[in-house]
């Protein structure tokens, strides 16, 4: 997994609430058996017409946001299914950070497993960041995970909370499974205990 330390990038505004995982990546793209290659299909129905041409109004189709690495989005981002194809598609498109007032639980977890930083801010902070994102390619947002803050192009600084374990893994690009297997003795012991106390499991 790619490390996430500090990101200086264009942020795209998506002021819509309840952007669900079906919008981020519709089902016809879930048939892949790989993790990569989903970027061209991200936001498929919002992004393309039925004939495959670009919808000019969609933010990521606009010249100014083509290279955005940050999304600033409305409340409850990523609701819906558990499909990790959603963060895979965002990542493959180039999105490394999503900022919203709230995220659906599973999507939020899935982001961290894939090197994407989801940031939760207050409504007021979101308004500020949304405004900044609307400036287009002239502005750059700086997301600093180490210091847990976001700096707008005007120099406003917003701090955010993040779970320390997830932060540690993201900054160091660590694989959870390797870390967990270091605790295999605890898992063995638990399994032995359960085999006696709850043999029906």
């Amino acid at each position: 997994m790619e490390k996430f330390e500090k990101l200086t990038a264009i942020a795209a505004p998506m002021p819509l609430i309840n952007i669900d995982t079906d919008m981020i990546i519709p089902k016809q793209f879930l048939k892949t058996i790989k993790r990569t290659g989903l970027g061209v299909s991200a936001f498929y129905e919002m992004r393309y017409n039925l004939d495959g041409s670009n919808k000019p109004d969609f933010v990521l189709n606009k010249e100014a946001y083509k290279d955005a690495n940050i999304l600033v989005a409305g409340d409850n981002f990523g609701c819906g299914s558990s499909r990790e194809h959603a963060p895979w598609a965002l990542l493959d498109f180039g999105i490394r950070c999503v900022i919203s007032t709230s995220f659906a639980d599973i999507f939020y977890n899935n982001c961290f497993k894939n090197g994407i930083l989801p940031v939760i801010v207050t409504e007021e902070q979101l308004r500020l960041l949304m405004k900044d994102a609307e400036k287009g390619s002239n502005s750059r947002m700086v997301v600093d995970l180490e210091n847990q803050n976001i700096e707008t192009s005007d120099g406003d600084v917003i701090t955010f909370d993040v779970d320390q374990h997830s932060k540690h893994c993201l900054i160091n690009g660590l694989d959870d499974i390797g870390l967990t297997l270091e605790k295999v003795v605890s898992i063995d012991a638990f399994e032995t205990k359960m085999a006696q106390s709850a043999p029906w499991v």
Binding site: P15, L16, I17, N18, D20, D22, M23, P26, K27, Q28, L30, K31, T32, I33, K34, R35, E45, L50, G74, D75, N76, C79, G80, S81, S82, R83, E84, P87, S102, F103, A104, D105, I106, N109, N110, K113, N114, D163, Q164, H165, D176, I177, T180, L181, K183, V184, S186, I187, A189, F190, E191, M194, A198, P199, W200, V201
Partner: protein, 467 residues
Amino acid sequence: MAPRTLYDKIWDAHVAHQADDGTCLLYIDRHLVHEVTSPQAFEGLRMTGRKVRAPEKTIAVPDHNVPTTLDRLKGIDNEESRIQVDALDTNAREFGVVYYPVDDVRQGIVHIIGPEQGWTLPGMTIVCGDSHTATHGAFGSLAHGIGTSEVEHVLATQTLIQKKSKNMKVEITGHLSPGVTAKDITLAVIGETGTAGGTGYVIEYCGEAIRNLSMEGRMTVCNMAIEGGARAGMIAPDETTFKYCNGRPNAPSGKTWDAALDYWKTLFSDGDAHFDKVITMKGENIAPVVTWGTSPEDVLPITASVPAADDFKGGKVAAAQRSLDYMGLTPGTRLQDVTIDAVFIGSCTNGRIEDLRAAAKVVEGKKIQEGLIAMVVPGSGLVRLQAEQEGLADVFKNAGFEWRLAGCSMCLGMNPDQLGPQVRCASTSNRNFEGRQGRESRTHLMSPAMAAAAALTGKLTDVREII
């Protein structure tokens, strides 16, 4: 010991390791696997030379991509779907997990066959790379969806890295009125709390109206906990639960059953346990409901009319306008005047025998509107068999429904069962998102009885006027 909730008790019983910062390794008792969210996880194991730690606790079944037509055993036409199902077949056999292939009568939607085969039992931790894993919480287990990276993590370690959620209680008091079902309860709750109302919580559903539900009904309620944003939904086990589990193929028997039962009877929230959020609704106040928009929170009683965007506040105004445009609805139209083109009865929300009985009761001896696309898709091969033995299949066929083989089908249309653009469907599934049942298709969520009623009239219909 301090009073604990049901969730607290199951959580405590499964912590295999706790780090100083409170991060836990939660031991997983059952891992359900389907073809869509698992190929990358098995590939990850292969690349790192890891094995499945507990193949006997890992249950795999193809459901999302499988065709539901009678000729499906001759193979899957769509190449990508076929590759995905074949990958599961190869992975299941190579890693030695429990497996129900597509030609096994026990095959079906993963959340239907887990309980049916007795893999799902009270007090367990159950995960699956699928958000509707919440269904299994109906047994008083802690069950939730995970992403593919977590699927790989569970395959390799039989644990999950977790932080505890908060406790939320949803109490439904009293009795349901005739024509009102478990689906109406769960939709009404989401209508009340919104799709983010449960975010960060595990919900325990309780109250007389919940107690009176069958296991099928309880599964319907918990199934949609995720639509309310909750990590999981659960219902304390009781005699109804025990009776359902007893005698299932993978449930314990003899002395082990007795021991299990003794433990299961301790699984309830202590009287003075703390809940961080409490919602109470009166069963009598719940009407048969339908959704009008593209979020499961867009719930209204069938007797209501289509709202206007201005009826809402904040970000919901724009979202509601977008929904109205997408759904092709005019504010002020009576919901009962909305004509439909299709009816889908099935899914892990409402594809169980009781759901089919409820729908069959409404259409028995009658004909559905001509020209409707109408299908009944049983949740599993065994549900299908039972429905045939009970004569329900004939009721549906005589009424004009297609009678299909088991799978996810038109719930999300990864197989050929999809709706065309602007086609409006009365659906017993769980999501009405844009494009969910087919690009630009329009979904109205409702109970099986309500969907059956809509099939008869060709419009959204109040089932109470038919029964």
